[in-house]
C-alpha cells in the first residue's frame, strides 16, 4: 500500500466576521456504527460509551458517539474495535468538519439551519440540513458548534456559511 498524503478538503484560512470565526477542523476519523437489532446495549458496552439517544452525544475522553439517524451513530475520535455487533463503516474521507464559534454563531446558523439553536448545550447533536446540504451539527458549548457535512460539498458549505456571516456582520454594523 503506497503511503498516501491526507489533504484537507478546503485548505482555507479561518474567516472572522462579527466576532464569529469559521474554521476547517483537522480531518476527523469517523466510523458509522449501526447496531444490529437489539444490540445497542452491547455496542455501548464494547465501546465504553453508551449508545446515544436521538439528538444526543455521549463522550469519554477524546471519543465521542454522536447520534446520526435511526439506529445509527458516528464514532469520532477513536477507532472502532473489531467484532462489534453492528454494521461498521469507515466514513472518514466522506465528511468535512467545520467549526463555527463566537458571539453571533447562533445568529449565523439561524439563517441556514431550520432549528432553534438558542440555549443548546454540549452533549446535543442534530441530524438536520444546512440550507439543502445534509448536516450533523454538534453543540460544543456556549456559541460554539462543529458542523459535519459531505466533503464533496465542502466549498458550498463554506460559501453558504461565509455568506450568512457577512450578512449578520452587515446587519450588526447597521444597527450600531
Amino acid at each position: 500500500m503506497p503511503d498516501l498524503i491526507a489533504k484537507s478538503a478546503l485548505g482555507l484560512p479561518p474567516l472572522t466576521h462579527a466576532g464569529t470565526t469559521l474554521m476547517e477542523s483537522a480531518l476527523p476519523q469517523i466510523t458509522a456504527i449501526a447496531p444490529f437489532p437489539g444490540q445497542t446495549g452491547a455496542v455501548g458496552d464494547a465501546l465504553g460509551l453508551a449508545f446515544p439517544a436521538p439528538n444526543r452525544v455521549t463522550e469519554a475522553g477524546d471519543a465521542r458517539l454522536v447520534w446520526a439517524g435511526r439506529d445509527l451513530a458516528f464514532l469520532i475520535g477513536a477507532a472502532a474495535p473489531d467484532g462489534l455487533p453492528a454494521s461498521v463503516t469507515d466514513q472518514s474521507d466522506g465528511w468535512v468538519a467545520l467549526t463555527l464559534s463566537g458571539a453571533r454563531a447562533v445568529d449565523v446558523l439561524a439563517r441556514l439551519v431550520p432549528l432553534d439553536l438558542r440555549g443548546v448545550q454540549r452533549g446535543q447533536a442534530f441530524r438536520t440540513a444546512l440550507n439543502h446540504l445534509p448536516l450533523v451539527l454538534m453543540a460544543e458549548g456556549e456559541g460554539a458548534f462543529t458542523l459535519l457535512t459531505f466533503r464533496s460539498m465542502a466549498r458550498t458549505a463554506w460559501h453558504e456559511i461565509s455568506d450568512a456571516m457577512e450578512k449578520v456582520a452587515a446587519r450588526t454594523a447597521l444597527v450600531q
Binding site: P35, P37, G38, Q39, T40, G44, A50, F51, P52, A53, P54, N55, R56, T58, W67, G69, R70, D71, A73, P114, L115, F126, R127, T128, A129, P134, L135
Partner: protein, 92 residues
C-alpha cells in the same frame, strides 16, 4: 409547517419529503382482484378534512412517518413512525 418526528422532535417542513397517501402501507395480497390493485396504485381520495399520508425524514433520522392531518384546518393530528420505535432508543 412543522412535523414532530417521533425520534427527532419538532422539525421544520424543509427536512421532510412528501411521498403521498398512506394507502401505500396497505399493499393488497398478490392474488387480490384487479379492483383492489387499481385502488392501491391509482385511485386516491381528495378529502376536505382528515387525511393520512407518508412523509420521509430525509434531512434527519431517515424514518418513514405516517402523518394524520386535516386539510381544512392544517392541523397535524399525529405523526407515527411506520417501523415503530425499533432499537433507535439509547442513553440520554
Amino acid at each position: 409547517m412543522r412535523l414532530t418526528c417521533p425520534l427527532c422532535g419538532p422539525r421544520d417542513r424543509r427536512e421532510f419529503y412528501y411521498s403521498g397517501d398512506a394507502v401505500l402501507l396497505a399493499r393488497p395480497a398478490t392474488d387480490a382482484p384487479p379492483g383492489a390493485w387499481d385502488d392501491y396504485l391509482h385511485n386516491r381520495d381528495n378529502p376536505a378534512g382528515v387525511t393520512q399520508d407518508l412523509w420521509y425524514h430525509e434531512q434527519g433520522c431517515c424514518s418513514w412517518l405516517k402523518v394524520t392531518r386535516n386539510t381544512v384546518t392544517h392541523e397535524i393530528l399525529s405523526v407515527e413512525s411506520v417501523a415503530g420505535t425499533s432499537t433507535a432508543g439509547g442513553a440520554a
